[in-house]
Symmetry: D2
Subunit: 343 residues, 4 copies
């Protein structure tokens, strides 16, 4: 059995990670830490886990965490970077679900995240944990920067188009809609049911932290820096991201449907839908799948890509476990092959 620690398990990413880890056939949960809730039973905070996770939250204990095979960080941004050096030194594999190691340009990271990176020397070593582009590097990695939820849906949607040089990368638009769980489990008036139910709004239009993350990944596959307009929206539901992506194709004759199907043919967690489809976020609720459809309306040169994920699974906890499975040479689908809950 793999000995696993979870640092910071009191958010929605944390409870989802625990739900999946508790049923992972190869995993033994050694500790779930929380400074603020140490002593509280995990299942008292998250009643779905009652009978499945018997641990209390504990203070993060370096000795316990160092004895783990893998430690997941489901903490706010800026926490993992203070503990990762110690854990790596102890030979622990680390998967950070926050943003600390996602941006290679440390000064850019400092700017968007409003703090100074605590271990810039480790940033280069971190592997961006999007298996669909980095599987081989993940296999060899000690430190994984698990992608953000918006970046996962957006990047997987744009990738084949950009890898193949078929899009004008200077004018990409990502109009992306997220359920409220993406905003976290903090005491915040703005995310009360009575503030978010029965309403839709854009937010962060002037700039959102996931913009540089997406651009960094896409730039690696483009012949020039991508120009991306990224508009996140808050949607009155709990889980799910729906990315609606727009690009101008430079060659109308290419069969995009086939391009996408071939690109993802071997990927266990990307499902390219038949031509003409409109994926629903509920089709992936609780599952690790990204479902994608490709349209070119009225035969124009604008391609519209629809990409849906569960922000807490493929956009966070599920992808983190996928990374663990690859790092430890387990069956990639182990523990994350759930079927979405519908309705």
């Amino acid at each position: 059995m793999i000995k696993v620690g979870v640092v910071g398990g009191t958010g929605y990413t944390g409870v989802e990670l625990l739900r999946l880890l508790a049923k992972h056939p190869e995993v033994m949960l050694a500790a779930v830490t929380s400074r603020s809730d140490a002593g509280v039973l995990v299942s008292d905070m998250f009643p779905n886990l009652r009978g499945h996770v018997d641990l209390p939250f504990s203070e993060p204990d370096p000795a316990v965490l160092s004895s783990c095979d893998v430690v997941f960080f489901a903490t706010p941004n800026g926490v993992a970077m203070t503990m990762v050096p110690m854990l790596l030194a102890a030979g622990v594999k680390v998967i950070d679900l926050a943003a600390d190691f996602r941006i290679k340009d440390v000064s850019l990271w400092n700017k968007w995240y409003g703090m100074s990176h605590a271990c810039p020397e480790l940033v280069d070593e971190a592997v961006y944990g999007l298996p669909e582009i980095n599987r081989d590097n993940i296999r060899k990695a000690h430190l994984i920067a698990n992608p953000g939820c918006y970046p996962t849906a957006t990047t997987l949607g744009f990738l084949p188009l950009i890898e193949s040089g078929l899009a004008d990368v200077s004018q990409l638009i990502a109009d992306v809609k997220s359920g409220v769980s993406g905003a976290g489990r903090k005491a915040n008036v703005a995310h009360l049911l009575c503030e978010t139910s029965e309403s839709m709004k854009a937010y962060g239009v002037p700039g959102h932290r996931h913009l540089p993350e997406i651009c960094q990944t896409l730039n690696a596959y483009a012949d020039k820096p991508v120009g991306l307009t990224f508009t996140p929206h808050l949607t009155p539901m709990m889980r799910g991201i729906h990315a609606t992506l727009y690009a101008i194709v430079v060659d109308r004759k290419v069969d995009l449907q086939m391009l996408y199907e071939q690109r993802y043919a071997e990927e266990p967690f990307v499902d390219v839908l038949p031509a003409g489809s409109h994926p629903e976020t509920r089709s992936v609720k609780g599952s690790n799948l990204c479902r994608i459809a490709i349209h070119r309306p009225q035969n124009s040169d604008v391609v519209v890509i629809l990409s849906v994920i569960d922000n807490l699974v493929k956009g966070a906890a599920g992808q983190a476990i996928h990374n663990m499975n690859i790092m430890l040479d387990l069956d990639e689908k182990s523990g994350i092959d759930n079927i979405a809950l519908l309705p």
Copy 2:
């Protein structure tokens, strides 16, 4: 008092029209018709109207309708066109909330709506009832084509930009999200709570009937035919449309905020928000307002316009009454100056 008839009051547009008309200080409701539900009390179908609307649904009776000052059609597409000639001949003013008279090119209408127009000779006479562009014509009109919900939010959002020649009209994108009431009140598995709640999806990406309607209006203000990509989405809420609009500006120096504020300064039902705002659909729930915000993220040449309405009010019933108020020279805000319900 103005004698008003409502043809086809059993849908969501109908009940909203009745809610507003019942409190309109100048209106007397003469008849609410429904072939299928004749005899049923309106307030038995719509319990909010109990104590406010005492009529039963009745068979549409030409004599009764002809005696009205104004008749509203809240019917499915294709119904109004069969009765309008008779009513106009009788001197009744008609406001059609469906699509029968929205498209000036009858062959285009026939194609998108899948039927043959019953009175093509009246199409030219109909005035497109968007007060913000057609107030003077509405004042003199006998027949109003009340705009669609998506076209209202989208057109008001794009209009100042296009009137002023500031956008590249060949590459407009409208990513538009609607509550489920936009799909109507029909027995349809696809719109059950358990099919639409907690999920987000695009639909009609290959083509939607509101596309030619929007293009027709915008073309009148553009120097060349607009190229619009229009992507509607179904959102897990009852009311509200959020249009997220993208255009490329040809001159970055223009003060778009001031442009929009000036364009709508005299409009009672368009509210341009302060720079940096993100309108929420709940801020207009039950009200006739369109609230708009303008962004140019990262100072690029892409302008992002956010435009929200209540699809049943400014996108249907409220705008229809606004048209009636103008036609009859009443106070424009009469009966439709409600404050949105929040939460």
Copy 3:
């Protein structure tokens, strides 16, 4: 015009009060106070009020408040009692939407509310503002204790049965379901959308502050102290209370339908539905109505009464304005005769 002050307008009761007062034909809003948000535009916090309420929140200023004809308190429990003596002394009429003056037995109040009452001498003078039982006293009152939301729905549902001596008052059950707005607009993890959506739960089963309030009112009409089991539930919606009330009738032959219809025949805001009805909370959303239906299933001696209100209107702000209308001898329906928003 009546000069009105609102103390503590930053909660859901506050915004609803402002929505209604802003359209009340006899009211001029003089001040909306909030210590924590002084200086913020009311319409920046509550975007529905933009264009309708132009005031900023201000520090509570005794001079300004003393110059008002009526002051509403939409504050947390325990605030009004510190300011009411001064206002009454200045001749201002006061309506407290919180609980400070609801319980006549001060020691009982101190126990349930966990504090010492600041002006116990005024408690007797306060009139419990349920117009259906206290209209004459309200007319003469200077200080109104506006009823709680659960007590309003429950009391109106039980009242005719108990007044008439037809129920065994020793075994009453009130199973009551509330939307989340009843929990207020505080930064509280427990009321995030992701904690309350798609879930149902009872709470406060061992004891809830509204229990003594309901019992106090019902006791006045019963021949012995009522024995009430009161079970509140949190329901995944924003507005609405559905009270399902159970009592054992001591005489099966009485026509309860007629009893209720007669009891409320002259009441403008209580609507007894036809026999066999099942009221929906949406039928009163945004309106000041209480709709009631009476059942005696399978002809047994158990009567089941269904009573619905909008907790923010008839359960708070609307009833407060109803009280003001009565106190000032205005038309009782003035400003609160809205039709519910459906859907």
Copy 4:
């Protein structure tokens, strides 16, 4: 592997059964039938199943069904009874998720279900599939009447109290709230999102089909016929039942908490919560658990029992598979040990 057929898989019970069966380690799905949708891929109707269930719906074929080890009926009431005799004769084990075999008194069944039973001679043979009372009989059964959703939550809640003779069975009250999926997946205006969202209502107060089913079970453990008032409510959520149960205890000194804990100590799918708890339906969303809490407010003689299930799992598909596991001597938890999805 166990060869399984599902008759009538197009409802919510059907898709949930398929979600669970597709991951059951011992099950091979042989056929999913639907007369109306024969030929349609199951995963085209239920997009969550794409990649997990590859079958199309097929016409019910006696040869195919007869070759199965187990056939589940997820059909409307009245269908299973026409096919069960043939299947039993062929040696197939049958689990009916509808109501055809739940009521032992056939004339009572005929009355409540409004039809004549097609095989009354098999009703006696059928075992009521509530494992917590019938495990031994289930083990030997050929035909299982899977309990209704309301009866499951209600019966498990009342059972220990009634078995122990501690309640006055003449005055039981079950106030029960269900998510909308309980109403099925039929084209019905009443269950559109816009009719059911943001609203709460009771229904069927004069009489509901689950009433005789609950009484039949409880009567078997009571010393006299139970007198039950049963009030179902429609709640604005997709999944979940919350039963709030009221009874008068005849002996206040008994430790009810211990009584319940002991009664269900060995039950894998009943979880008695610690004293003072308030279970939430979300704590069982997607799981087969029933979670129960017991209260006696203010130390009176009224006991309040809170019992929650997922109506589609413990109230339907999960319990059906539990029955299959018992009938076939598999691990009882096989395939149904999921953790609830939260949020």
